[in-house]
Symmetry: C2
Subunit: 321 residues, 2 copies
Amino acid sequence: MKYYAGVDIGGTNTKIGILDNHFNILAEQSIPTLSQQGARSTFSRIWQTILDLLAQNELSEAQLAGIGLGIPGPVVDQAIVKIAANFSWGNDFNAKQLMEEISHKNVVVENDVRAITLGEHLFGAGQGVANLIVVPIGTGIASGILLNGKVLSGSGGCAGEFGHIMVNEQGMKCGCGLTGCLETYTSAPGLVREAKKLLSAPETDKQKCGEFFQRFSTDLDSLQAHHIFEYAKKGDHLALQVVDSFAKYLAYGLGVLINIFNPELIVLAGGVAKSADFIIEKVQKFLPHYALGVSLQNLQIKPSQLLDSAGVKGAAALVIK
Amino acid sequence: MKYYAGVDIGGTNTKIGILDNHFNILAEQSIPTLSQQGARSTFSRIWQTILDLLAQNELSEAQLAGIGLGIPGPVVDQAIVKIAANFSWGNDFNAKQLMEEISHKNVVVENDVRAITLGEHLFGAGQGVANLIVVPIGTGIASGILLNGKVLSGSGGCAGEFGHIMVNEQGMKCGCGLTGCLETYTSAPGLVREAKKLLSAPETDKQKCGEFFQRFSTDLDSLQAHHIFEYAKKGDHLALQVVDSFAKYLAYGLGVLINIFNPELIVLAGGVAKSADFIIEKVQKFLPHYALGVSLQNLQIKPSQLLDSAGVKGAAALVIK
């Protein structure tokens, strides 16, 4: 039996898993990324963690057949991070070369969203579907586009960035430099911001407000995205208003993807995927305003199956398949 | 030497060309489509025209190696028109089978925009570029998306329909059934409609208006899209206003495609491609508001090279390549 490491490098933490070639996760650990200490330091600690996990499972270094790395940013040639958007590791950072130098193993690098997409295709909600789109929603929103079994990269590794479609010309500045991007509404921070606006707006009719308002209007700082979904599911009027607005923007964005790709399946992933069934129900209500009827006919929208392990399994998929 | 027929079936007229395998058009003829007489009638007249053109060029029927058909609508398996959107030939209309039955030749069928895209890739502005998007603008707007040398079809043959992205929730009803589609602004009819609005608006300052206003304000019916570009190029204030608004919407739509595909090249085709250089200059001004800087860096936007022969050459490309 051969074994593989799947590594999901995030802004704050990096998740590392050891998998067998049936994609069972044998061991998993999260370490702080500490990217400011430099790429070599982060990659060395990742390798050390892989070695520790192997030892804990009584596996030898020789039994490790390869390492898959999922990393945010524009990745080209399954090796190079073109632009230092997320870490200060420089432009044209050859992540594959560095990790191979440290580990002496075969390493495949891919953008994190594209790794997750491959994971859902091979082992998750998209099994057996050759044309699908995976949409992770968390601190941002993006899309992994699988066409005929291959994930779309774009000429500079930047494909899939539908979160930066402008949806409000008078909207807020986005982290990307553009204004009024879809992502400023259809992300966890966007949800929380819009909820806080409503909770503290003078025109909010306090008389009519329920539990959600009672709990958070005087404690805005503790509000997180999952609270909004919890209260909305219970029928809270104010929380529902926030989710409806979120779902409308999301339907707009998905409508664009549907008109352009005419996909068989869309998979909602990321942090909010835990409320995906609820979100999908809301989104379906708005979709007919934004997507061609003919392309909605045979479309399915499903929640992620891999959930929290999507990153690690997706990264491992890069080397196992 | 082998010869091929390229057929571009349009709503009103059908263009038929005979090409050699170097893609030289030896003969070309346009016949009325008359789709209401039924598919068999139209296809039989197409075949008769092919035979006539062969005879006129002293070529035998045996020298014809195949027929490529470009047709509007969602085409799947390079054979079947899924939905009778443009002609009343029924859903799941097997255009390949019918044409092969009539001609006893090898027939390949493709959506007209995708045929043009293949044509521009093989013989036009997109030669040597494996990842490009061709955007024909005429009575509507659509996109042909070429990825790794293959044209994207979508699961139901409907890929590329970015003309039906909603850009104005309070906009006019589009032919597709949705409201405020991009196409209602970025098409020849959209241009003409917006120009007529300005020409007849009471708030238009007649004192300041130039030649364009003088010529068309009392003769709205004779206004065509090419007039607007002609006068705008001469610096006419009112015509420029119309073109600027058109270019802004077009930049929005192209921005969406750029964010999603990160392509190397976009080719503007269709009726308005004759003014493409002028349009591209205007579009470039607005693009940085709608597309990620990183995806604009290495992007080229060019006019079609095949122009009027794009349809016939594109269709022929289906069988020649």
